[in-house]
């Protein structure tokens, strides 16, 4: 018997997503006539007898026989993580970084001085972490309204959608996860009923540590505080940075940063060098995006038949891809340094003046935004004192 068509046991089908494609074409060292394929416990009866070439094809197993017809592989969508797909996604990605400056339409935020924007950014990092829950949610609402009113519809929907999703996940996970497994993790003390002591009297003012209970999950005051702090902090950091980046040019931000850092020159901090490095980095980000995209496009365009490659060969292609990206990036860096020399840069950042243009700042809007910031800080402090 040189070949057999066999009903395959389920454990073998679980190794291959397509059982029909499974085929043994190499010589077998066992006699297939001794095999009983009703179930794999019988495989113990395999007896090595002689070398016989065997072609083994798997017949499709009927789905209604009661045995599990699909293994774990059926949970993974076929081809979802193939190298081809990954490279196509990379090649099709945008070369523009997220939250890049939007020149038009010009909004109120475009007219705010970049230094005030930086102060606002700092305030929006500190306030959600230090202030009352009402201020936290108030800041989230304020930033959402500001984004909706200032940014074009597509932009704010994209930005708010992503940030809200992230913050929402954080809120739910931290809110319900903080006190939901207390018995296992916290208390070794027996409950009051066991030791004969009376229960702690309930609050007369209606205070309750537990806010909500959903089966095994419970939302407590500690959970709410942690969840609101984390979620609001994430929201305000990401959304305020997005708003700032979309309404401020990189040069304006760099100039504002330089204004704040100038006093540090007394301490011999190389401020000019830091600012130039920041600007070059901002320019270089999209070159890196371009390189990653173009190298992926180059591989996709060669139409590699990934199914014919072994794992090591596929890895080899990915290593070559990474190597090419780094090589091109270093080449870019070298060429840009040559261009800087050709354009008169002599290596001393302090002597090469970087010009920043500030024609967009509006005095009235600056004063208004500072007044709003002051009001917000006062409100946060007052609420904090009131609730303490």
């Amino acid at each position: 018997m040189s070949s057999s068509t066999l009903l395959y046991p389920s454990f073998l089908s679980s190794l291959n997503p397509n059982p029909n494609a499974l085929r043994f074409s190499h010589s077998s060292i066992f006699d297939p006539s001794r095999l009983i394929f009703a179930g794999f416990p019988k495989l113990g009866a395999i007896v090595v007898k002689k070398r016989t070439p065997l072609n083994c094809f798997a017949a499709q197993q009927p789905h209604n026989e009661g045995t599990p017809s699909k293994g774990w592989e059926s949970w993974i969508r076929h081809g979802a993580i193939s190298p081809e797909r990954i490279l196509r996604v990379i090649a099709g990605a945008t070369s523009s970084p997220i939250c890049q400056f939007i020149e038009s339409p010009r909004t109120l935020l475009h007219s705010v001085d970049p230094r005030i924007k930086l102060i606002w950014l700092l305030a929006l990092v500190i306030l959600p972490a230090r202030s009352n829950i009402y201020i936290r949610f108030g800041l989230v609402g304020y930033l959402s309204i500001l984004s909706i009113s200032v940014l074009p519809t597509q932009i704010w929907m994209d930005q708010l959608g992503r940030v809200a999703l992230l913050s929402g996940i954080l809120f739910v996970m931290l809110g319900f996860g903080t006190d939901s497994v207390p018995a296992l993790l916290q208390s070794r003390t027996p409950p009051p009923s066991l030791i004969g002591l009376p229960d702690i009297p309930s609050s007369l003012s209606g205070y309750s540590y537990l806010i909500m209970k959903l089966g095994p999950l419970q939302l407590t005051r500690k959970g709410l505080s942690l969840a609101s702090t984390s979620a609001c902090l994430s929201f305000t950091i990401f959304q305020s940075a997005s708003l700032c980046l979309t309404t401020t040019t990189p040069e304006q931000l760099a100039s504002a940063l330089r204004w704040f850092m100038v006093p540090f020159t007394v301490l011999r901090v190389p401020v000019a060098e830091i600012i130039l490095t920041l600007l070059l980095s901002l320019r270089f980000i999209n070159l890196v995006f371009d390189e990653v995209r173009n190298a992926a496009l180059g591989i996709v365009a060669r139409r590699i038949n990934w199914k014919q490659l072994t794992v090591m060969e596929s890895l080899d292609v990915f290593f070559m891809y990474t190597h090419r990206i780094f090589k091109n990036i270093f080449n870019h860096a070298e060429q840009i340094s040559k261009a800087m020399i050709a354009r008169g840069f002599r290596g001393d950042s302090a002597k090469h003046k970087i010009y920043f243009f500030h024609d967009s700042s509006n005095g009235f809007i600056n004063i208004l935004s500072l007044f709003c910031l002051f009001g917000l800080i006062c409100a946060a402090v007052l609420l904090e004192r009131t609730f303490i």
């Binding site: 070369s95 890049q100 400056f101 990189p250 999209n286 371009d290 261009a339 050709a342 010009y355």
Partner: protein, 275 residues
């Protein structure tokens, strides 16, 4: 300093422009030499004599890239540098810009000079358009108003004024190239060294850029330009042409001489193919 062509009465810049270079003879210097002249009393803005440039491979083998190149570009003129791929045009331009040191020969180029790279992504160093154009002015001690005015004029010359605040990554290849040219124009330099500027541009942009450079050269500031190109239709804007082959300058003259030279070369090629 090695003697240069303009120093010799028999090899004045005008005569150099008309004669084939081989007939001029070469003046090779024993060591590499760069000089930049800030004064305007010389008639040639760009001069190189006996320029050789070679690289050493990892195996220790010396590969000559430029072989005894001599050239002279008069002040206030636009010259084109032609030749097949890999003949050494860009390398010669980089030597003239001072980015590479010649192995032998001497180079004299008026200052200030600007170099524009073939790939605009290599030239543009700042994240937004106006900041990049202003970058080259950082070496001068100028007021903000003067810089703003210079940047606006340069951007206007290349038709990019309305894009002044645009992030560089949102521009097309041709627009980036025009920003790179604006950066060179803003510096109000005496010599422009331009490496295949119009490679990424369509016909309209190509015309716009070449006219911008031509206007710059024709202005009273006595600006000179050496333009590397493969596009022969651009020759009608040139005052002179240099043709290179295999690291050597094989033709150096005015446009009519260059056209005759190219036609002769084409005829020889067709004869060779028996067409």
């Amino acid at each position: 300093m090695a003697p240069h062509l303009a120093g010799s009465p028999s090899l004045s810049s005008s005569s150099v422009a008309r004669l084939p270079l081989r007939s001029q003879g070469t003046i090779a210097a024993s060591a590499s030499h760069h000089c930049s002249v800030a004064t305007q009393d010389r008639r040639a803005a760009i001069e190189g004599s006996g320029i050789c440039y070679s690289v050493t491979t990892r195996q220790g083998r010396t590969v000559p890239i430029l072989k005894d190149c001599s050239l002279s570009v008069p002040t206030g003129q636009l010259w084109m540098l032609l030749g097949p791929n890999g003949c050494g045009k860009s390398t010669l331009l980089k030597v003239l810009a001072g980015l590479l040191n010649p192995t032998h020969g001497s180079v004299c180029v008026n200052k200030p000079k600007s170099f524009v790279f073939q790939n605009p992504d290599h030239q543009v160093v700042m994240p937004t358009v106006e900041a990049d154009v202003a970058f080259g002015l950082g070496k001068f001690n100028l007021s903000s108003d003067a810089v703003r005015s210079g940047v606006s004029k340069a951007l206007d010359a290349v038709g990019m004024l309305k894009y002044s605040q645009r992030p560089i990554q949102t521009l097309s290849g041709g627009q980036k190239q025009r920003v790179a040219i604006a950066g060179a124009l803003a510096e109000a330099c005496k010599v422009l060294l331009l490496d295949e500027l119009t490679t990424f541009l369509d016909e309209h942009d190509q015309l716009g850029v070449i006219k911008a450079v031509k206007n710059c050269v024709s202005s009273p500031g006595e600006v000179s330009a050496l333009w590397v190109t493969h596009r022969l239709e651009e020759l009608k804007y040139a005052d002179g042409v240099i043709y290179m082959e295999d690291g050597r300058i094989v033709m150096h003259g005015d446009v009519s001489a260059a056209v005759s030279f190219l036609k002769e070369k084409q005829a020889r090629y067709l004869n060779h193919l028996d067409l």
